[in-house]
């Protein structure tokens, strides 16, 4: 058998986002992977230092589409710490609602694309159809299908009236059984199992070594979820089970995501049932932001998202640095792809649920 170096990407590895893998293969087996990034680097970390605190809330939401809600949330959390603002209880519940709606849509998108890569097109379309119900929720409650624009410094800028509350509950009642059905399919279907069981394995030790986060880490047996370990918003008052699987293969990562979709629906129901009355934001003004620095952390659909903000005497931040979950998970691909077949590369890449516009900023 001969050795070759083949290019995978930068376009259309699994999704339409660009990442370039230089893969050394021996016959059909992957021997070594080199990752080349930088195709969508936009210099947003520079841009945030040229805009004021409140303008940045809008900018950070546009870093990524699938976790667009998590960026302004973590950023607002850091600013609120610097300014000593406390989000009122209703605002905290609203933040959880926005977060979990995005998580359902994001995870369903990823497991849907997995079905597409396996070649199970009818399942792909079915999952996307179920996801579409959540897209309808976003459009009805927030007015947008991707960027929710939910956050302000000090709370949220949307509210849920009785009509929307009833609508949201009805949609959840439609989505929950559909998700249970999809989960059962992924658990038992031969086409799915054949292409995902034992594929792209990331051992527990390697997962720790690479500092993986989110579903990738949890599918390799790491029990870490920011919502439990460093509670924020209303998560300290909600029941949040953490789903951990031991095997670290593509299937485990998909199953963790599906379990988290069910949990997200449950969290949404908990929130809607116990939604406190009161204001959604601690201030309707733009509060003064003093000098200081802070860290904001939240669990984005792909894992831990961390924001560091430094304010000086200027209305523009001196530095805002964020690290998205995908940034940590790329490295793990080197272990997952080792000795994999060329035909499995796209499935393995998709299994870390990569977000490239997030990674490169």
């Amino acid at each position: 058998m001969s050795n070759f170096t083949i290019p995978v990407g930068p376009l259309n590895v699994a999704l339409e986002e660009p990442m370039y893998f230089k893969v050394d293969v021996h016959g059909e087996t992957v021997a070594h992977v080199d990752i080349h990034a930088g195709h969508v680097h936009r210099g947003i970390e520079y841009l945030v230092t040229k805009r004021n605190v409140f303008q940045n809330l809008v900018l950070t939401e546009r870093i990524c589409s699938l976790c667009s809600n998590s960026h302004p949330q973590a950023y607002a959390m850091a600013i609120e710490q610097i300014a000593g603002l406390t989000v009122p209880p209703r605002g905290e519940y609203m933040r959880v609602i926005a977060d979990e709606i995005k998580r359902v849509a994001s995870h369903l998108f990823n497991v849907g694309v997995l079905a597409h890569l396996v070649g199970f097109e009818s399942l792909f379309m079915h999952v996307m159809e179920v996801r579409e119900m959540m897209q309808d929720v976003k459009e009805s409650v927030f007015g947008n299908r991707m960027d929710l624009g939910a956050h302000v410094i000090g709370g949220v800028r949307y509210n849920i009236d009785d009509d929307n509350l009833a609508y949201l509950k009805a949609q959840l009642d439609r989505i929950a059984p559909a998700v249970a059905e999809i989960t059962e399919l992924y658990r038992t279907n031969g086409s799915i199992l054949g292409r995902t069981r034992g594929i792209g394995v990331l051992s527990h030790a390697n997962a720790i070594d690479c500092s993986t986060v989110g579903p990738v880490a949890r599918a390799s047996g790491i029990n870490y979820d920011v919502r439990v370990k460093a509670p924020y918003a209303a998560y300290d008052r909600l029941e949040v089970p953490v789903h951990v699987l031991p095997d670290g293969d593509v299937w485990s990562r998909a199953m963790v995501r599906l379990a988290e979709v069910a949990t997200a629906i449950d969290l949404l129901r908990q929130c809607l049932d116990t939604l406190p009355e009161g204001p959604t934001s601690c201030t309707s003004e733009r509060p003064p932001i003093p000098v200081g620095e802070a860290i904001g952390k939240c669990e984005a659909p792909r894992g831990e998202l961390i924001y560091y903000v430094r304010m000086t005497d200027s209305p523009k931040p001196e530095r805002v640095k964020w690290r998205v979950p995908s940034f940590m998970n790329w490295d793990a691909l080197r272990f997952m792809m080792k000795d994999a077949k060329i035909s499995d590369i796209a499935i393995i890449v998709n299994s870390i649920d990569p977000c490239i516009s997030c990674t490169e900023r």
Binding site: G38, H41, G43, C210, S211, V228, A230, I306, Y308, F327
Partner: protein, 196 residues
């Protein structure tokens, strides 16, 4: 609820003989955030290995050039003292500050070092595999040298662009290497000719 050991300050002080400055706050939800400034950047590796022994995870690394502090007016009979950071690095607007954010089971501890302009800092890749990408990124953002990095290539920014992009203004179109579509196409053709 902090998971950090109670005597963390003495552990850190033992690992960094040149001195540390530690502050900690715990929010209403019990999440602890600590900031530890090292007087000497050469104590970084020993304090980082202490973090490793506490099962900390390196979350990310932030680099910035803090604005120069304004010096307090000198008292009568004294000469003006130039402002400096803890440890003595000059606060001249050019000194780099590098923040290493560690996660310890939900709590965050940040190790802060100051590196004089044109200085260097030890790589943490020997302790934390995941320091690789953040260190490559900080090398392309500022003119700081990371000693002992196993693979100091550019991460996101094209090697054809001059180093230290955050130290100067770069037009966005130049940054993304496509001032005009025609310009990019001509550049590609020129490369093709020069290669063949």
């Amino acid at each position: 609820m902090s998971v950090l050991p109670d005597n963390i300050e003495s552990h850190l002080a033992a690992a960094a003989p040149s001195g540390i400055q530690l502050t900690s706050t715990t929010n209403t939800k019990g999440v602890c955030t600590s900031w530890c400034t090292l007087a000497n950047k050469d104590d970084l590796l020993s304090t980082a290995s202490l973090m490793k022994s506490l099962n900390a995870r390196l979350s990310t690394i932030t680099i910035l050039q803090p604005k120069a502090k304004s010096a307090p007016p000198p008292k009568e009979g004294e000469t003006q003292v130039a402002p400096s950071f803890f440890g003595g690095s000059a606060s001249d607007g050019k000194t780099f500050e590098i923040d290493y954010h560690f996660d310890i089971d939900g709590d965050t501890l940040t190790l802060i070092v100051h590196v004089p302009y044109g200085g260097d800092v030890q790589s943490l890749t020997t302790l934390f595999r995941c320091a690789d990408w953040p260190e490559r990124e900080l090398m392309e953002l500022y003119s700081v040298v990371v000693r002992g990095h196993p693979d100091p290539r550019r991460l996101f920014i094209d090697p054809g662009i001059e180093n230290a992009v955050l130290e100067r203004l770069i037009p966005f179109s130049t940054l993304v290497n496509s001032a005009t579509t025609k310009g990019l196409w001509e550049k590609i053709l020129a490369n093709k000719v020069s290669q063949s």
